[in-house]
Structures are given as structure tokens and as C-alpha cells.
């Protein structure tokens, strides 16, 4: 049996559906039933039920966006750093392998090749890099699992949310047997406040940037595939291969959904951060070679976006 924490959440729901589709025996567990944030309660549950694998899709994301995490600091830390550590400890004691939904937002920017040199750039909205993204996309490389996260409490500035997700990764790394699955900006065909394709359509103005992003059920599928094929434990970036600019996404929305609305963009970072956002945003490109090398399949990002928009289901 697979134990699923956070099944009622946006990402947990995708795991639940994927497990149903596979006809895998699984048990969704809510904190109301069993307060798994309490170490001894979780330990007792694991000892009694002996799941073969545990998925932690619980965590604290700010609503409506990460700015809320700057205020709800305790809940953000408890949900994203202390809870994963508790699960790691309990699973280690019981010898249960598990997977943790982390986030690619522990990074900002990309690795950029310019003048034959490759270096990490934390901000791709800088005009010279902006041009590179559009004109020489081959010069933009994703961060790999061996790159140290650069949008964390150890590498300020970061958002409070990102800081806690990075700490969560640190807290469970090397404890027992775990996967750390890095999700980035979930999207799919179901219109929803958490869906990136919905968000883009609802923003008063759009923030132009560059990102690797994760189709929600592709993500759940790839994560479970890693476990099914017994890929080595450790960190995996789990986004659809490639990256997109917000302009590309808006272009596809306009082409496929043909909305009446005309999209406007924030002029620059200064305007965005003055008028729309409080805390710095992670925008980043991730490399998924490690995932693909295991044999796990996942669609290229543009294909996944086009497919989602062609099958768009309004809320």
C-alpha cells in the first residue's frame, strides 16, 4: 500500500488520480484523521500499517500567492521544513522509502552560455539575457540536481516560501531513503486558481519571464514512475523538458483559446515589484536530464501546454 499525505491538495489530488488510474493500492491520509505532523503519531501509524512507500504532497503554499508566506511564516516553516523532517525521521525509523514534493523555486535564473563561458545568472530579465532567451535559446541551460540552490536563505534574496522549501530539502537529504521531486509552476487543462494557464489569463498584467514548468498529472506520473522503476533515491527535477517565456504562453493562449481579453505586460521588474508583488519571485530553468536518463518519459513543455489548452476545461 502507498500512503499519500496531502491528497486533498492541488498536487496531492493529481497523485490520487494517477494512483487510481494505475489501480495501485493507496491510502490517502488527512491530518484530521491522523495528525501525521506529530512524530509519534506518524511513527505509530507507519508501524501499524507498514506502507511500502509514502508520498508527501502536503506543504504550505501561500494563497493567493507566495507573498502570503511572508506573513504566515510559522505555517510556512512548519509545513515546508519541519513536517518533511518529521516524515523523513519516521520513515527512516521504519525503513519506509518515500517521496517528497519539493519545488524548483529553490532556484532563480538559469545557466547561461555567453562568450563561450557558462555561468549561473539569477535574473534572466536583464536586457542582454532577455535577448539571449529569445534569439539564442540554446545558450540557456537548466540547473541540474548537483547545482546548489541559489534562491534560499543561504543565498539571499529569496522568498520566504523558497527559503523554507530549500530547508526542507536539506532536512531530509541523507536521511533514510527518499526522493526529492522538484515541481515547478503546475498547469494542466483544468481551469483552477492554482493552474498557471488560468493565472496567466486572470492577471491584470502579465509578468514576462522564463520558466521550466510542470504539467500536473505528467508530474505525478513521472514521480511514481521513478519509484516503480526503482530509480536511485535522491533529488530529481520533474518539469516538462524545456522552458517557456510568459510571452510564448500568452501567444498559445491567444491562438488556441482566442480570449476576448488583450494581454498587457508589466513594463519591467521595477513596475512588477512595486505594484504587483511583495517578495522576489523565482523564475528558473531546470535541467531534466537526470529524470530522462532513468527511462521515465515526460512530454516536452510546449506540447504539454498546447495539449492542455486544446482540452481546456473551464471551471
Amino acid at each position: 500500500m502507498i500512503l499519500l499525505l496531502g491528497a486533498s491538495g492541488y498536487i496531492g489530488g493529481a497523485f490520487a488520480r494517477e494512483l487510481q488510474r494505475r489501480k495501485s493500492a493507496f491510502q490517502p491520509l488527512s491530518r484530521k484523521e491522523v495528525d501525521y505532523s506529530r512524530f509519534e503519531v506518524l511513527l505509530e501509524y507507519l508501524k501499524r500499517h507498514q506502507p511500502e512507500f509514502l508520498v508527501n504532497a502536503a506543504g504550505f503554499t501561500g494563497k493567493p500567492n507566495v507573498d502570503a508566506c511572508e506573513i504566515a511564516r510559522a505555517d510556512t516553516l512548519v509545513g515546508n521544513a519541519l513536517l518533511p523532517q518529521t516524515i523523513a525521521h519516521a520513515c527512516a525509523v521504519c525503513g519506509i522509502p518515500w517521496g517528497h514534493v519539493s519545488s524548483g523555486c529553490v532556484f532563480s535564473g538559469a545557466k547561461v552560455t555567453q562568450n563561450e563561458q557558462t555561468r549561473a545568472e539569477k535574473d534572466l530579465t536583464r536586457p542582454d539575457l532577455r535577448n539571449l532567451v529569445d534569439q539564442s535559446p540554446g545558450a540557456i541551460h537548466g540547473f541540474t540536481e548537483t547545482d546548489p540552490p541559489n534562491f534560499t536563505f543561504r543565498d539571499l534574496p529569496c522568498s520566504f516560501y523558497s527559503g523554507t522549501k530549500a530547508l526542507g530539502e536539506e532536512a531530509i537529504a541523507g536521511v533514510g531513503q527518499s526522493y526529492i521531486w522538484r515541481l515547478r509552476i503546475p498547469f494542466d487543462e483544468y481551469d483552477n486558481a492554482r493552474n498557471y494557464l488560468s493565472k496567466v489569463q486572470r492577471y491584470a498584467k502579465v509578468y514576462e519571464n522564463v520558466n521550466s514548468i510542470s504539467h500536473r498529472s505528467d508530474f505525478a506520473r513521472a514521480c511514481l514512475d521513478l519509484w516503480e522503476c526503482r530509480a536511485p533515491f535522491g533529488i530529481y527535477n520533474v518539469t516538462n523538458p524545456g522552458f517557456v517565456t510568459t510571452r510564448q504562453v500568452v501567444g498559445l493562449v491567444e491562438k488556441i483559446l482566442k480570449p476576448a481579453k488583450r494581454f498587457e505586460f508589466w513594463q519591467n521588474d521595477t513596475e512588477f515589484y512595486t505594484k504587483a508583488a511583495k517578495t522576489p519571485r523565482s523564475n528558473c530553468v531546470l535541467d531534466v536530464s537526470k529524470l530522462l536518463a532513468t527511462g521515465v518519459k515526460i512530454r516536452p513543455v510546449l506540447l504539454a501546454i498546447e495539449d492542455s489548452l486544446r482540452n481546456w476545461r473551464p471551471e
Copy 2:
């Protein structure tokens, strides 16, 4: 055998000396010998050595002061929230009781009786309360262990340091068998950068406020006494009974040490926070009735300060 974590620190050193004085068998453990911040490493060590009790005096305090914790956020969180949780889990698995050095700085202010009403006041430097402190000290009551901390990530503003200490308390409460010992502003007769009586003498200007404070070896003694007399586990405020204003401390320094220097005070909070401090400071009064009710003895604060100054040992 008592296992002592953080023995090389300012407070850990006091525990080591007190354990020596008592001729108690104890083992100081440094992270260099055994990285006890790693759950499985600590668990293995505890299983092998089966200490009867563990003291955690390790933690992250900013140097030269808490402002440093605003920058070193990851280390502050790891040392003060994630580490205590790791220890709590490992001790719970092994059934080992333990004590954690927490901090009274999860509070700010005091409970104040005015016009027959008692309420928590977060800032005692407000002029009307300031007068009350001097003229009706009986109107000032300390926070007890059942009062919810009010200088935390759940009750902003707080310092990053205080936020992490409060989270640490939350992370271990209700797990296994533990004491949470709240220290406040350590001092004693040994001139030292961490000694409050040294700090007061070295500040360019002094910040006038009201505090309960802890004589360092009185603290270690009271903590160990709690365990020796098998007091119930839980939170204990461990300060010398009473409270002092910075002016009282300066007055005693002038009277007893007769320094050449003339003390100057910051005019008000605004000047202090503009010129000397970055993050808000906890200044608070704690109630130690719970500690005293167990039969553990600890000297009144003015006595402990006078005694320290009369036995002053320059560095």
C-alpha cells in the same frame, strides 16, 4: 551518563562545570566527533550509549548580536528549530528524557495591571508603562509558561532569532519526554562578550528596558535540579526571580565596579532602532513561580547581579 550537546558554548560550558561540580557522569559531545544534527547518526549514538538524560545547549545565536540572525537565516533555523526537532525525535525513539535550552525571548513585554485590569503589553518603553515600572513595580507581572509566546513568527513583529526559538519549542512540545528551559540574557561574574554585565559596560550607549535575566550557573543548576528532583516534564521559565531595568543594572555597575566611563542612554526606541539595532529586541519579564513551586532554589535577580559584580573577574 548524561549526554551534553553544545558543551563548548557559553551556556553548554556552564552545564559542563555544574555537572563536574556535582561529580555527575557526563559526556560532552561535539558535532566534530559525532554529527548529532544528523538524525540517524544521533539515533545510532543514543542506542549504543543509552544516556539516562540528554542536555541540548547547542543552538544558533547571532554574533555579536541577534541582528546577525536576520542574515544567517538558514543557520538560525537549522540550529534553533530543525536541530531540536531532530533531538526530540531521536530521544523519543530511544525513550530518553532530555532538556532543551530555549529562550525567554519568545516573549516581549510583560503582563501589566492598570486600573484593576491585567493585560499583556508588548512594549514596556511606552511612557505610561515606563513610569509604572519605576513607581509601581508590583503592577508588572511576568509571563507564565501557560501564556502563549507573543514575540514569534505567529505574532509579528519578532526577530528572526526569536521566531526560530519559538518554532523549536513548538517542534518538541508533546514529543517524548522533555524539559524546555527558558533562559534570558545570561550574566555572571566572568567578563565575556556574551555576559550581559559586560555588554552593558561595552555598549557605546545603553538601551533602557525591563528584563528578567538568568545568572549562567544558577540557570544550569536549576535546570539540572529539575531533572534530579524529577519535576514534571514541560516548559520552565528559568530566570532569577524578579526583573531589573537597565538603569538599575548600570547603577549597580557604577556603585560596585566604579568604572571611569560615564554611561549614556539611547534617548528612545526610535533612536535605538535607527542607530544601533536592525531587528526588534525582546525585552520581557518572566514569572518563575512554576520553577520555584517544584522546590528548586534560585537567587533573586538583584542578589545575583550584586554578587556577580562584587566577584567581577576581568577577561
